[in-house]
């Protein structure tokens, strides 16, 4: 059965606290921390972008898989912050990882589900027998407009999954995708910051699509929430995944290991993939794992996964998500944050 042969994540080492951002705009930090359930978020340096995060995560995935880069036949990068508007991120990632040149490369964009979209296609390509291995990455250096609710969550990071047919660390039991046209969040060509429909991003967008995809894959596989040891939902803030999980019948014990958002923020295309990587850092053989992403626009991808006996043997070959979240990190002021995120106008 095809599955995940290797996985890896990368989270930049700078952080800004919810409190620091709230203070900048004269807001009450306590209200925001409680409302969004966000403590802090990762901040990319001037030298970090979707490409560098993808290379770091991809390198970890290859290390855990123990697969020669020459056997990777596809590289797909899902992001809504590809550094170039025209010119692929994936070509840099493939070259840096020593993959190719006989390789299919594409960049994906579907708001916050570009990462699982890349995973979906990579898996299908492997299952079809067209390639031996396919690398899928979800990574972002997300933007949120100043003083917008998104500014407290939009962060940087990502995860990479190498799909293959032989000896997977995690088997893919089934997948489903649920998509409608719902303009809840968007960024027009040439615009710097995304815009959104406020509360319209909730019920008709996030909750509807996550619920539909999850319910449908449970029906399709005949599984019930209690059959899973872990579940990961897209994490636009701390609250949404807990609410949707509760309404679908999942417990905090199932959600918490992949609920990385309180200290990572929302890494957009990297959000649910990084949550999944955090789960793979702790899952035991035969554990069932459910992941449902969400991308504005809108759609959700669900995957049902089962850990194999190889997983515990391989995960020590690269850093865990928690070690990156809780490990060495530097807190920045709002001023530094504004500089790193290029919100300050400077001369050319």
């Amino acid at each position: 059965m095809a599955g995940i042969a290797g996985y890896g994540a990368f989270i930049p080492r700078r952080r800004i606290t919810t409190e620091e951002i709230a203070r900048q705009w004269g807001k009450d930090p306590g209200t925001i921390q409680r409302g969004l359930m966000l403590k802090e978020k990762s901040v990319p340096g001037f030298d970090e972008d979707t490409i560098t995060i993808s290379v770091a995560a991809g390198r970890a995935a290859l290390a855990r898989a123990g697969v020669s880069p020459s056997r990777v036949g596809a590289v797909y990068i899902g992001s809504e912050s590809h550094p170039y508007a025209v010119k692929p991120s994936g070509t840099v990632v493939a070259e840096a990882l020593g993959i190719g040149p006989e390789v299919h490369v594409a960049d994906f964009e579907f708001a916050c589900k570009a990462g699982t979209e890349a995973m979906f296609v990579a898996l299908a390509l492997v299952e079809s027998g067209r390639v031996d291995y396919a690398l899928a990455v979800g990574a972002d250096t997300s933007q949120g407009a100043p003083d917008d609710a998104l500014e407290y969550s939009a962060s940087a990071g990502g995860a990479a999954f190498l799909f293959g047919r032989d000896d997977p660390l995690v088997e893919v039991v089934d997948t489903i995708s649920f998509t409608t046209d719902t303009p809840d969040f968007w960024r027009r060509e040439g615009e710097f910051y995304p815009r959104h429909g406020g509360r319209f991003t909730g019920e008709p967008a996030y909750f509807k699509h996550v619920t539909e995809a999850t319910t449908r894959i449970l029906d399709k596989t005949g599984l019930k929430p209690e059959d899973f040891r872990f579940v990961v939902f897209h994490m636009p803030n701390g609250k949404f995944p807990l609410s949707v999980g509760k309404s679908l019948g999942f417990t905090r014990e199932q959600i918490d290991p992949g609920w990385v958002v309180p200290t990572m923020g929302n890494t957009y295309s990297g959000s649910s993939p990084t949550g999944l990587a955090a789960v793979l850092d702790v899952a035991d053989p035969d554990d069932l794992i459910l992941i449902t992403s969400f991308g504005s626009g809108a759609g959700s991808d669900s995957f049902v996964l089962r850990a194999t006996g190889l997983l515990p043997q391989r995960r020590g070959l690269a850093p865990s998500v928690r070690s990156m979240l809780d490990g060495p990190r530097r807190y920045v002021t709002y001023g530094e944050y504004a500089k790193y995120r290029e919100k300050i106008i400077v001369n050319d």
Binding site: D47, T52, A318, R322, R330
Partner: protein, 150 residues
């Protein structure tokens, strides 16, 4: 930087390709056709490890215009276990904490950008070698539940 000049250097900039002399063993980074030590042309292409040690360093306070937003930054000469030396920035730490002898990891980063509309130029920067695995990792893992319920 004109894109052909950037593109030509991709093997060494993206994958740390170097030349090991077949006669005297000297490792040159980036690759060279003729060994600077013994003039041998019998070189083998190798990929350097993504780690090394700081030999000497400085903190640049007055940068060229292209690096204005990044100053002050630490710049160091790093030696890899293969004996190759390279000049790289030391990122993700207080520049004042960089010192000779410090162990570093090499991470793929955006090094420079050609103005607002030009190409993006990638390569490696050093970062402090952070603990991974063993006790240090176990200690971090033990904090997991606290953080999850924060």
């Amino acid at each position: 930087m004109p894109s052909p000049r950037y593109w030509r250097e991709i093997p060494s900039r993206y994958r740390l390709e170097a030349t090991r002399c077949g006669d005297c063993g000297r490792v040159s980074y980036p690759p060279r056709r003729i060994c600077p030590e013994c003039r041998s042309t019998d070189g083998e292409t190798i990929e350097l490890s993504h780690e090394g040690r700081v030999l000497t360093y400085t903190v640049v306070h007055v940068p060229p215009d292209d690096f204005l937003m990044e100053a002050p930054y630490a710049l160091a000469v790093v030696e890899t276990p293969e004996g190759a030396r390279m000049m790289v920035q030391v990122a993700d730490c207080d520049p004042a904490s960089v010192e000779a002898g410090m162990m570093v990891a090499l991470e793929f980063r955006l090094i420079r950008r050609e103005g607002k509309g030009g190409i993006l130029c990638y390569g490696y920067k050093a970062v402090p070698a952070y603990p991974m695995g063993g006790e240090a990792e176990a200690e971090l893992r033990s904090k997991e539940s606290e953080v999850a319920h924060a």
